[in-house]
């Protein structure tokens, strides 16, 4: 399954979402009279000695985290077919990719699916999130629950379900069915991220607008939506990246031809690797990492804290 961010269903109060380090600066706490043992008071106080073992584990973890990615990138530039011996630098696998019409068709399909899923899930997700936060009704709480289903079930469940639905109604699987399934999944994500954002908005600006004679709808258009714009853009970029990389849902809902790029990669690595996959993989890694970093920085472009809370859904 493609990884989607782990989302916390609980919208949390704004005070908690602000990730301030708080008053717990390590070290200098006033008023700790010299009760602790001086022998341990080298360098930073607070958490004691450097946990050497934990630091070693962390270093090993980072090495192992990046090694597989490094291997894919390195061997995409290999002049040989081998995956163990690097001979010379060459771009032949990238050329092979650009000459492969099937792969290019897949790339085209993946891009189109991601764009449509991004647009569709933003429209439906933003409106749904606004409604869920602002309107307390039974319909609202039910919708809020339905929306969490994709986030707390393995993707294979939603994949199987979507495939059965399409086939049950007699729809042939195609690019369109992938789009529909991906929109469904992305709505959940957009809604959860934006829900906490909307809940954290300062209601006074909207009240001020209303007091100055704006209607509800004008307030929404001129005050609320502009305030949410950074979050909307950032989650849109992230949805694009997630859908582009998604595998499980696409695998269950795609037709035979064309297939999304990730499904194509899956078949390729199951039935013996062609090094072209290294080149495609490298390009995909570069693309999605660029998009994610962009998503993290969008709030800063608007002069706000950029943050990882987009990813962790806090």
């Amino acid at each position: 399954m493609t990884l989607r961010p782990a989302l916390r269903p609980k919208p949390r109060p704004a005070a908690e979402t602000a990730r301030t380090p708080g008053p717990r600066k390590h070290g200098t706490r006033p008023g700790t009279g010299g009760r602790s043992r001086p022998a341990r008071r080298r360098g930073r106080r607070g958490t004691g000695r450097k946990p050497r073992l934990a630091i070693a584990v962390t270093a090993a973890f980072f090495a192992l985290l990046y090694l597989p990615i490094g291997v894919v990138v390195l061997f995409s530039f290999n002049s040989q077919k081998s995956l163990t011996v690097f001979k010379d630098f060459s771009l032949r696998w990238y050329e092979a990719f650009l000459r492969d019409d099937h792969l290019l068709a897949s790339l085209d399909m993946s891009l189109r699916v991601s764009l449509v899923a991004m647009a569709g899930s933003l429209v439906l997700g933003v409106t749904l999130a606004l409604g869920l936060v602002r309107c307390r009704s039974r319909l609202g709480s039910l919708a809020g629950l339905i929306m969490l289903i994709p986030l707390i079930t393995p993707e294979i469940v939603t994949g199987v379900a979507a495939m059965l639905l399409f086939k049950g109604v007699g729809i042939t699987l195609s690019t369109t069915t992938v789009m529909l399934a991906e929109i469904t999944f992305s709505i959940s994500y957009v809604t959860v991220v934006l829900r906490s954002r909307i809940a954290a908005l300062n209601p006074e600006t909207e009240e001020a607008a209303m007091d100055l004679g704006a209607t509800r709808r004008q307030t929404l258009r001129l005050v609320t939506l502009p305030a949410l714009l950074p979050s909307i853009l950032a989650s849109g970029v992230l949805v694009f990246a997630l859908v582009f990389d998604d595998f499980v849902l696409a695998y269950f809902t795609t037709g035979v031809d064309p297939q999304p790029l990730s499904v194509r990669i899956y078949s390729a690595i199951r039935f013996g690797v062609q090094p072209t996959i290294n080149a495609v993989g490298t390009l995909m890694l570069a693309g999605s990492i660029a998009l994610i970093v962009l998503a993290l920085f969008i709030p800063r472009l608007f002069g706000r804290r950029g943050g990882l809370d987009l990813l962790s859904g806090k």
């Binding site: 584990v57 409604g131 059965l164 469904t184 595998f247 990882l308 990813l311």
Partner: protein, 305 residues
């Protein structure tokens, strides 16, 4: 529709009439998204549940019905073995992720200093890159003459016959690599929130690093660890890529069975029943977690009083 209660968050000034009017706008805004989710998600899940009670005709076409023969078929020892294996692998994945993620989250949260956000980003960003490409790279790393086994042979830990791929260890390694980020994020958040003076107090009371960890840090971050376990367990239980790439035919998990029934086996009702079974297992796990969490909160409230 429920009667509209004035929402404190959307106070309208008195001139503006009852807030029910503005509530109508919000309700209408919810309609398209809700309809979409009801059609594509709820209906499709209900279809899976219904089909699980169906049968196939001799041609292999799914027939709706009302019988439990699929669930009876699941009692087959072969299926039970796969289910137990999936459970075992998923739990082992949680455990290993926990053991690795704790020190990593601890070091970053408490000793990361200025680089905290950068380090966390360096962990999270690759996880949002393509899962298949990462798994494929990981399988190359773990392969018989890949860098990891070469290094292990070099220092004498492994010999020429040691393999990781095509074994259960390979599958679990794949699952850990796939989902460990879900353990790191909640643990990091919990450790960040933790009051460092607690650790100091532990040290002031002459607790060694290990004792301080066990009696102070661990209890303070238990909820983060529990949340991480749930977030790792869910996708690990349903994954079929890891078992396919890293394991052999003897390591298949329930996800592989489901995939097989829908694609090669062409037995959709049985596949649906398997899906329902997996959901049931996960639901039980979630229920246990939620009850624990509620009990934890109650205990906290008790302690605060």
């Amino acid at each position: 529709m429920a009667p509209h209660t004035p929402d404190p968050r959307t106070r309208t000034s008195a001139k503006r009439g009852p807030s029910a009017r503005s509530n109508l706008l919000w309700t209408w805004l919810m309609v398209p998204g809700t309809l979409w989710m009801a059609t594509f998600l709820l209906a499709s899940l209900l279809l899976v549940a219904t089909l699980a009670l169906g049968t196939t005709d001799p041609l292999g076409n799914p027939q709706f019905g009302l019988n439990f023969q699929n669930f009876a078929a699941l009692a087959d020892p072969a299926y039970r073995a796969v289910l137990l294996r999936s459970l075992g692998y998923a739990l082992l994945t949680c455990l290993i992720s926990l053991v690795v993620a704790y020190p990593v989250a601890y070091v970053i949260a408490l000793h990361g200093g200025r680089f905290k956000n950068l380090l966390i980003a360096a962990i999270v960003v690759p996880f949002f890159a393509n899962y298949l490409v990462r798994m494929y790279g990981w399988s190359v790393v773990l392969s018989d003459d890949g860098p990891l086994l070469k290094a292990l042979r070099g220092i004498g830990i492994a010999d020429g016959d040691t393999r990781i791929l095509q074994t259960g260890a390979g599958v679990v390694a794949g699952l850990v690599y796939g989902f460990i980020v879900f353990m790191i994020i909640p643990l990091y958040a919990a450790l960040e929130r933790m009051d460092v003076s607690l650790i100091e107090a532990g040290r002031d009371l002459y607790g060694g690093p290990l004792r301080t960890f066990l009696h102070v840090t661990l209890p303070a971050t238990r909820q983060g660890a529990a949340a991480g376990c749930v977030l790792v367990f869910l996708p690990a239980m349903g994954d079929f890529v890891s078992a396919q790439l890293m394991g052999g035919p003897d390591q298949i998990m329930i996800g592989n069975l489901i995939q097989d029934k829908f694609f090669q086996g062409q037995n959709w009702p049985l596949g649906s029943a398997l899906t329902m079974l997996m959901m049931a297992v996960l639901f039980l796990g979630m229920l246990g977690y939620l009850r624990r969490a509620r009990k934890d909160e109650a205990d906290h409230a008790e302690a605060a009083r």
